[in-house]
Amino acid sequence: MSQEIIQDEAVEKESLWQLLGPVVVLTVICAVAGTALAGVKLGTASRIESQVLNNVQGPTLQRMFPNADNDIVAERKMLTGPNGQAVIVFPIYEKGQLSAVAIEGIASGYGGDFGVMTAFNLANDTMNNIGVTISKETPGIGSQVATPRFTKQFRNGAPDEMKLRSQGGKINAISGATISSTAASNAVQQASAFYRELKPEIGKTWPASR
């Protein structure tokens, strides 16, 4: 009699483990994997940021300002934007004068985030130039918004007019790439908004000439 009961219990334990075993094992594996990933993410975050600065934003700024006489990336500062978010501002000195600042705007495009480095002339608050930093747009279609054909439209204009014609601005979208063109325009507008808010602080952060 007692033997039977013990056997029954063993069977019950077996079936309970069959039911819970997969759940427990999978949970443990996911927890370990998650912890490891969080650790690696934390450990590499600062290095990845500096790699992106050196490999993406640095070269873009170099192309936009070949005559800059400061190290634009090294002198960047983190300022606090209108809603408390951190905005990285890149100062550009030409002939010893703080001539422009660049701010990266990010909007969502067809293939994910779309980043545009947008530069503003400090003297008259006009847009100086733009350069695309992050683009996962469709090659041959959306990717055309990174070509000079599109970006040259943003040279030396009032920031308010630097949006698509459909939004009441002066920029011609690339036909067939409405989403990507809109993303570029939105990213530029985001950067302009940051610039408007941060203008007073920019003057305090970097000396006007040196």
Binding site: Q18, L26, A33, A36, V40, T44, I48, Q51, V52, N55
Partner: protein
């Protein structure tokens, strides 16, 4: 020891992944525009495959068979993300070149294929050797296809000019069709070589054993005497 060595060397020729197992074709077609990209991708796969084989082999007796595929995917996906983050942190230009193919390592058939076919059934050391062998076989294949495409498509090899000046680069080889052409010709050449070497040894090619890595039809094999290729 000799069996460990065998687990390693089988991946280098007899069961070389893209050419014999015909697994992992997506990266071999996608990233091999340059030999260097092939090398980078291959080494990433060596890392992921070896560690995932090792971990899966260590926990193989704990994992219930019902959820084994999910467990294998969690393990290999985590390793791939680790590789991706490290690549971003240390070799950013390579990461930009490989782009979408790094996260796609996780859906590379070789990883899950080796986990299921080998690591889940074998002890840790042979699994590590299997992962290393398969990984390096995959790397060799990627570098080989990458070299063919780079040399004929640009006249360079690992960025060094090796073709004479009068050589006109064939643009098609660095574009998508070139990948299919190079892979197809390589597969054909390997099959032709196997056939010739079988015939030289007096074996009927159709009966030769192609390695069991990509095939689980063991019952069919038992009916015929199968000499090794």
């Amino acid at each position: 020891m000799s069996s460990l060595l065998q687990e390693f060397t089988k991946g280098l020729w007899r069961e070389i992944p893209p050419f014999r197992l015909v697994l992992g074709l997506c990266p071999i077609l996608g990233v091999t525009t340059k030999a260097f990209n092939g090398l980078g991708m291959g080494l990433a796969v060596v890392f992921v495959l070896t560690i995932s084989n090792m971990i899966i082999s260590m926990v193989r007796n704990v994992i219930p068979s019902k959820v084994r595929i999910a467990c294998f995917i969690v393990i290999s996906a985590s390793l791939v993300v680790i590789v991706e983050l490290c690549m971003q942190a240390f070799t950013y230009p390579l990461y930009e070149q490989l782009g979408i193919f790094v996260p796609l390592i996780v859906v590379n058939c070789i990883i899950l294929g080796r986990a299921e076919a080998f690591a889940a059934k074998n002890p840790v050391l042979p699994s590590i050797m299997d992962g290393l062998g398969m990984g390096f076989g995959f790397t060799i294949s990627l570098v080989f296809i990458g070299s063919i495409r780079e040399i004929f498509g640009t006249g360079q090899w690992f960025g060094l000019q090796i073709m004479p000046d009068f050589f006109q680069p064939m643009q098609i080889m660095v574009q998508a069709p070139g990948a299919f052409i190079a892979l197809g010709l390589t597969l054909a050449a390997m099959n032709w070589y196997s056939r010739v070497s079988c015939e030289n040894r007096g074996i009927k090619y159709e009966n030769a054993q192609h390695g069991c890595g990509s095939c689980s039809a063991c019952d069919m094999c038992k009916t015929v005497e199968r000499p090794s290729i």
